[in-house]
Structure formats: structure tokens, C-alpha cells
Amino acid sequence: MIRRFNYTGRKKIPRSQISIALYETEGNKLAFDASIDFKGLILSQDGNIYIEAYRRAYLQRFKCGTVKDPKFPKNYVLEGLGPDSLVRFRIKIVDKKGRLLAVGDRISPRRLEEESGNKLCLLHADFLDLGQLIWRLDLDGDWPILQLNHKLENIREIARSEPSFLTLVYPEIVRQILYRIIVTEDHTDPETDGEDDWMSAWLKFALLLIGGGKQLPPSGESEPILQEKLKWIDDVVDAFCSSNQILDKFAKSLKIRES
């Protein structure tokens, strides 16, 4: 289990108290609105609020007043990012000496175009040139990303709703992600690190899928444990396919194509 120490009393701003909405402007730019609910957070009223939008080496930082007198962004444009860009946010409350009083990181904004409440998105999509590959998973960043080849017309729609893509690709995505978490990283405790940790979020999702009070496999690298882990991943993928009626959807899509 990964343990993290917090010697300085830095507070965590819960994701549920941060609201960031991302949308495309008329000029095909990306803009956002943000607000933070400080309820329950005991913070110095003089603390400066910063909001950082980041994506790989891109970083744009906005000073948003103080805790006492916040000036939350409204229609702030993220210069240099295209309307489809994947971007995350970080909120910092900083004292006069530059010390962090509170942080909320890895915040996924809501896309107003695809409003879906305050649900945590387990898998982000990104669109780029993948040569002759149609898709691949990037699990080396701070959240899983499904990379899709932007050279394929309508790839966004295909990945979202084309039955053959959904039925053939998504079970494999679930398998690859769980393999990375449970086998490669040997991460088997969903309570570690809470909501900012994608591995724990995926384990919780997997436990919900598999249901029936089934436990996660134990941590370890021995052969019997490895076999137990692989079996557990198979069970989750089966449960994913059952709950999404993968075979039926695929068969139906074939029939539609034949007719």
C-alpha cells in the first residue's frame, strides 16, 4: 500500500466542491468557467487562489482572487489548445510565503456539450495521429487515456456509439487497464489515495461490476497469486460484457449490416 505523508497540514479540496465546465467558444477556442465551494475547509482568508489548466507540457495559470474575495473564472480562454483538447485542472490555495494551504488536483472538467452531471470519468479520449493504428491506451500519464486516430473520419462518434467498436474494443480496454493496475503495479487496495487516484477508481468500478461481495485478489507476485489475479481480471471482463450485453449488441450490428 502506498502511504503519503502530509507534514505541513496542507488540505485537500474535495473534487465534489470544485466545479469546472469546459466548452468550445464561437471562435473554435476552448474556454472554461470554474467555482470552488470552500464549505468545511478552514483556510486563511488571505490565501491566494490559483487555477492551473494543464495538459502534458501545456500549463496556463490563472490568479483568481483570495479565499475572502474569490474571482472565479468565467469564459476564460485556454490559449493554444484546440477545442477537442484534453485538459485537467489543479486548484491551489497559497499563503503569502508561497506555501500551499490546500490543493485539488487532477480535476477533470465537465464538457458542457456532453453534460453528464458530476460523475467521475474513468477514461478520457484523445485524438491524434497514430499512423495505421486505430486506437491505443496510454496508461503512463496521470489518468488513463484512450488515444484515437484522428485520421479516421468521425472517430469520436465511432468510439462513442459504433456497436462493432464498442463491443470489440471496450472489453479489451477494461482488461488492459486492470492488468496494468493489478499485475504490473500490484495495486489491490481501492481505498488507497482516494478520489485522485485512477487505479483505485478503476478498482472500485471493477468491484461494482463483479458484485456479489467478491474480494480483490491479494497483493504479491508469486505464481499462484498471479493466476488468481488473471482469473479475477477475466471475471471482471466477463461481468463487463454481461452488463453491457456485448455479444447481443455485436450480433445485432452484424445483422443490421447484412440486411
Binding site: 502530509n6 505541513t8 490559483y50 494543464y54 507540457a57 493554444g80 497559497v94 508561497g98
Partner: protein, 239 residues
């Protein structure tokens, strides 16, 4: 008289890759410069920009040149433009892959010449890396951009490959203050070893720790240098 800026298309990039492979297999053929303007392999970049075959004395000089040439374009047209950066690599091939002392060119990984959009290899491109450093920081950061285009230092590789470092002006300025010798125009004597007390890898570890406590983005390089523990005194003494 310059050359109109072009983009290599997929066929042009494929030919360029073939050439790189030929070189690895021992070919001594000269670079296929004809691809640069052949409409079958490339197309003009809109905007009417021309570039010149300058011999850059350092990555610094190249970074400034690319920045000045490209600053009219929106970043979205530059940052992921594989055709543009591959064209630049071929145009300046003499500098990104010069002949060695026995007259052979030995290219490195393709990502040094052909922009790879995978962020783990993005900055390996020998031209976009320096350009990006200049654009992000607004000045040619010496510790990252000294030396010729085809040579990358450990500082360049270790700092550019860490996104949270390269985007942080204060951290990069601190590294520059600690490890770059302004008088000599290169890294400080003894700093080529990146392990050991106060050396680059320790700097990276300590900065990661400080980042949990301080908002390093709001600090200057000088303020960050002052936060470092005594093991950095050797490097800090003439800052």
C-alpha cells in the same frame, strides 16, 4: 534568398525515414533535399514564411530563430505538426545529423528528426525541443540550450522529459543558476555527473518534495535556490 516553408506529407516523411534507415545500414548517400520542395512529397505552409540555411552556433540560436519565424502561427498549427518539424529536420539535416570524423552520418532514433506525438518522445525532436523551451520561458535557457543542435546534454534530457519541470519557469531558472557557468558558456565544472550530493538527480528529487509544500510556480529561481538544503551549497555559492 530563403526557401518557402513547406510541410513534408506522408510520402515525404516515409522517404525521409527510409533515408535514415539507409544511413544506419551504412549508406553514405547525401540527404534527399529534393523532397523539400517536390510537390509530390511536400506542400507549402500557408503564410508565406521563408527560412534560410543558417549555421546555428547553438540550440539557443536555433530556438530563437524558430520562435521568430513561427510566432505568427497559432500554437495549434505548430505543436503537433509532424510535417513541419520533419521538413525542418531535413532542411537542417547537416546540423541535426552531421558527418562524423570518418565522413559518415549515424542518425539516432527517428524521433530526433521526425516529430513523434507521443509525449514521452515529443521532446527528443532536436528542433521542436529547443523551440518549445524558448517559447515557454521567453528566453534561451542556457543550461538546456547550450551546444550544437545534434548534441543533447543530460540536463536537456532529464528536465525536458519531466513536464512538471519544463513548464515551471522558477524551477528551470533555479537549475540554470545552479549548474550553468555563464562565463564559460557551458555547464559548471564537475556538474556533468548528475548523481551525488546536490547534483541534477538530487535537484529533481528535492524539487518534487518541495512541490508538495510550496507553490513553486509562483516563485523565482532565486527563491527556489534559497529553499534548497545544504547539500546544494557547493553549487549555490556563486549564484
Amino acid at each position: 534568398m530563403g526557401t518557402p516553408l513547406h510541410l513534408l506529407n506522408e510520402k515525404g516523411i516515409a522517404k525521409f525515414k527510409e533515408y535514415l534507415q539507409e544511413l544506419r545500414e551504412g549508406s553514405t548517400r547525401e540527404p534527399p533535399y529534393e523532397l523539400l520542395t517536390d510537390p509530390w512529397y511536400s506542400s507549402k505552409m500557408p503564410g508565406g514564411i521563408e527560412v534560410e540555411k543558417i549555421i546555428f552556433q547553438s540550440k539557443k540560436e536555433a530556438a530563437k530563430y524558430f520562435f521568430e519565424k513561427l510566432h505568427f502561427f497559432p500554437h495549434s498549427q505548430i505543436d503537433r505538426n509532424v510535417g513541419l518539424w520533419s521538413w525542418f529536420s531535413l532542411y537542417y539535416f547537416e546540423q541535426v545529423c552531421p558527418k562524423n570524423n570518418i565522413g559518415r552520418r549515424i542518425p539516432g532514433h527517428n524521433s530526433r528528426y521526425i516529430l513523434d506525438l507521443d509525449y514521452r518522445r515529443y521532446y527528443r525532436h532536436l528542433l521542436i525541443g529547443p523551440y518549445y523551451v524558448y517559447r515557454l520561458h521567453g528566453w534561451p535557457v542556457s543550461i538546456l540550450l547550450y551546444g550544437p543542435l545534434h548534441k543533447t546534454s543530460k540536463y536537456y534530457e532529464e528536465l525536458l522529459s519531466r513536464q512538471e519541470f519544463i513548464t515551471n519557469k522558477g524551477v528551470i531558472e533555479a537549475a540554470n543558476k545552479l549548474y550553468f557557468d555563464n562565463a564559460g558558456g557551458k555547464q559548471k565544472r564537475g556538474s556533468s555527473t548528475i548523481k551525488g550530493p546536490g547534483a541534477l538527480l538530487r535537484f529533481i528529487d528535492v524539487i518534487k518534495q518541495l512541490d508538495l509544500t510550496y507553490d513553486l510556480y509562483s516563485m523565482t529561481g532565486e527563491e527556489i535556490v534559497a529553499l534548497l538544503p545544504p547539500e546544494f551549497d557547493e553549487w549555490r555559492k556563486d549564484v
